[in-house]
Amino acid sequence: MDWIFLLTMNLTFKRKLVLLYFLLVPLSFFAAEPFRDWKNQNPKFKPIEAQLLEYSEAFDRKKFSKYYQDWLGEAGIDGDILPGVKLRVKIPQGRKKEPAEERDYEVPLAVLSESDKDYILDWHWLRQREDFFRKCLKVVLGESRDIRTERPRLDDGQDPPPLEDLIYLRNGSRKRGTVINNNYSIHTPYGEFVVGKGRLAAVQFEVDEAGRSVLTGVNSNRLSGFLDLPGEANVNEPNFLVFESNNGKESVRKEEVSRIIFQVREDELDGLGTEGSVSLRLANGDYLDAKVYEGELPVGGRSVKVSEVDRVEVANGQATVFYKDGGRDNWTFAEDDLPLALDLGPAFSVYHGHLKKMYCDTAFRPLGFLIEASSERDVSISFDRDAPGRVRSPSSSSTYYGILEEGDKIVSINREMPDFESRDNSFDKAVDDLFDKKEPLPNVEIGIQRGENQFFLITLVRKQGDDV
């Protein structure tokens, strides 16, 4: 029995391997596939050693070799466009010690064994989603969102289990299910709007004594204010959260809910962060991505294209505009209100007094507190030895002084669950990567939990001009 046999017989193990490969090394996704044995659907054929180069659902039948065209005909497979793969096949030479010749072949998918077909489709499914996996918010409020990491397919004749939302109640209990409420209405100091469930990663209900709630968008946007659950026909009464669980449909008063962690949905990032979207940081601590009306900022009696601007800093009604070309202007806003359309959906006008900063460069979207550091030492944190990820009191000379407090817990790093058990903990590794001399990370996002209910983010960036 060789390892190929194991691989083909034990799908779960194989799929785990594929998943592990893609998720642990997400940025090496497009690295070359390893050579492996491929089996023909006809078990009489010997396996071939080959490397997967490409899969397409739409191969031109004519591009297959005459052998495969004949085979397709004999197999009764019609159609000019067929799924197929491109394989780089090792062709052994006469003597075993001679290096094998490598040649590329286009092979109809149907020719391959069922297990190899699954392998290819899994690979393709993950490759398609690599960008999404990289961008999507996998951890929110210190909690992993339920995410589909495998191609959905029947397993032992069963549909894959559905993804679930997590609902925490104030009495300490936790429920799993699918939240039915579609709309979440939030009244913030800068406006009032409704955000659809499909654009939300989490909801925190009444996080402080004032009764403010926090919506976290799938793009990490933060909107805080008074939350209402509007009544929806055939869904819910006003101020009731309705979800479907194994126990059937359950309905809970808004006031009894502590937080919701939504599952990751395949299409949740569609249309977000597109050209012209800016990142706004508001005076109340919220941050959100939005499109400025017609992509132009009305300042100082004229309009400036957002695409020309790096960032805008606002103080006392005065806007300091920093251009991408290095120029700088001090202007007043032409109008009190700046019309915007939130990436998360609703359109509204924000009074300029609520604005603090606007980042127009789509490559730079700092979340929460922004810390600029010149060296790894600047951003080092000392942790409690006995409590992984638990911060010890920062000294008054620390960059984190006034931001972090003793007992705060790091609950996410770069949108992933942190590992503080290993020798090279996630935090140290992320900071290393930030200052890596070859391929430095543009920034490090740290999620912090304080007490039961308070969550906030810190973005670490290298100080401008301190290129490694």
Binding site: H187, P189, E209, A210, G211, F226, R253, N284, Y351, G353
Partner: protein
């Protein structure tokens, strides 16, 4: 509130806000003069009546036709006249008709009723002031003189013009005077959304800009927090999220909501008249908000029982359960049978308060605490030491004090029972209030308003006399 504490509190009004008159007590004897400056003698004002029957007056004093004609010339025509009733000190009549009056003899006290126009203009003013204050005495006692550490514009004596202006503070530190035109202020509180009429508000505090800490303060000192919106009001030319004021020169000014820091409304003479206080209870929520409200239907629904609010002294919600202290002395414990408690606010709107938000409900109108409630069994634990050069500013708070961890060094007491305190006199207002709490037993509690770092909060101190 019992009459004695009422009197005590009135004293502070009279001493510190209205120094001219002692309205509630008996008037002192003073010198009175006729309209022609002739001496009327020493007298004590008893009554002022704007519609006294002429027929009755003619029976009490000699009114010749000439005098009636003169009264008519002074505008006192018809069957009713304005009169002043005095107790005059009159020298006793000599026993012998020809004998000279004895200047050392004890004067007799005689009640007389004279037409108002008989009096000198100075005495007429005195009578009018006295009457004006007497009319307004209950209002002065009840109305909120100080809000958010700031004295509200109030007309304190008759000849003064009405205070015409509200005070509007802006975030840039400037202050404007004007009449606010917006007729209502809308609040999104954690327990609901509603609007309160401007005429029922004493102040509006626009919070820190982060939302949720805006505050409406009612004329009855009710406190409602949340996010304030200024709704559009086309009738008075107000667009959404703008405050419109009319300034001293009659010009209209529009200010963005975001530029506002606070509004202190002037005291309006009729601001307490329409308060819906009958049968109301004081509802204190866990977020610190407090308001007078009538429990819908006048009863609490606890489990399957219905308990009349009139029988209840107070309700405290502990771990989600309602603990009812009955006026009879008994106690009832149970769950509110409805998730939302419907309430009609004295300030106007009706709301539904989710049961878990309720902290306490005081049905007894004699106890209306504001802010944190402290209980003290002796004055020693309430001793406060103040900075010598800064009246009302705390030096420190000892560990043995009930104020420990509530008040801090540097806190300033800005009002006691809604009045400006006197910390300059030998017997400070604070000492007097402690006396009334523990020695005279004329008070059962008092309320301090305290300023810290530009923000104000309240503390209610309740006597626990065993």
């Amino acid at each position: 509130m019992n009459p004695s504490i009422f009197k005590m509190r009135l004293l502070s009004v009279l001493v510190f806000a209205l120094p001219l008159f002692s309205v509630s007590g008996e008037e002192d004897f003073r010198q009175w003069r006729y309209f022609n400056d002739a001496d009327m003698g020493e007298g004590k004002l008893l009554e002022y009546n704007t519609a006294y029957p002429l027929e009755d007056l003619t029976k009490e004093i000699q009114l010749t036709e000439d005098r009636i004609k003169w009264l008519q010339e002074q505008g006192q025509s018809g069957d009713f006249v304005r009169v002043v009733k005095l107790t005059l000190k009159v020298p006793p009549k000599p026993k012998e008709p020809d004998a000279k009056p004895d200047p050392k003899a004890e004067p007799e006290l005689v009640d007389v009723t004279y037409p108002f126009t008989y009096f000198s203009s100075a005495d007429q003013e005195y009578v009018m002031d006295w009457d004006w204050l007497r009319q307004r005495e209950p209002f002065f006692k009840k109305c909120l003189h100080i809000v958010l550490g700031e004295e509200r514009g109030i007309r304190k004596s008759r000849p003064e013009p009405e205070p015409n202006f509200d005070v509007i503070y802006l975030r840039d530190g400037s202050k404007k005077r004007g009449i606010v035109q917006n007729t209502s202020f809308s609040l999104h509180a954690k327990y609901g959304r509603f609007a309160v009429s401007r005429d029922k508000l004493s102040a509006v505090q626009f919070g820190d800009g982060k939302g949720g800490h805006d505050l409406l303060v009612g004329v009855n000192n009710n406190r409602l927090s949340g996010i304030i919106d200024l709704p559009a009001d086309s009738g008075v030319g107000v667009t959404a999220n703008h405050l419109v004021t009319t300034n001293e020169s009659g010009q209209s000014e529009t200010i963005r909501k975001e530029k506002l820091s606070r509004i202190i409304f002037r005291v309006r003479p009729n601001e307490l008249t329409d308060l819906n206080l009958d049968g109301s209870a004081l509802v204190r929520l866990k977020n610190g908000d407090a308001f007078d409200a009538r429990v819908s239907g006048g009863e609490f629904k606890i489990g399957t029982r219905r308990i009349a609010a009139a029988q209840v002294s107070s309700v405290e919600v502990i771990e989600g359960r309602a603990n009812l202290i009955m006026k009879s002395g008994g106690k009832e414990i149970g769950d509110f049978s409805e998730a939302d408690l419907p309430m009609e606010l004295a300030l106007g709107p009706s709301i539904n308060v989710y049961r878990a938000y309720v902290g306490q409900i005081y049905c007894d109108s004699n106890f209306r605490p504001v802010g944190k409630i402290l209980t003290a069994s002796e004055p020693r634990v309430l001793t406060l030491s103040f900075e010598r050069d800064k009246p009302g500013v705390l030096r420190s708070v000892s560990r043995s004090s009930v104020y420990y961890e509530v008040l801090e060094k540097g806190d300033r007491i800005i009002s006691i029972d809604g009045r400006i305190p006197d910390f300059d006199s030998k017997d400070t207002t604070y000492e007097l209030i402690l006396e009334s709490l523990f020695e005279d037993n004329t008070a059962t509690y008092f309320v301090l308003d305290v300023e810290r770092d530009g923000l104000t909060f309240s503390v209610t101190v309740r006597a626990n006399n065993g």
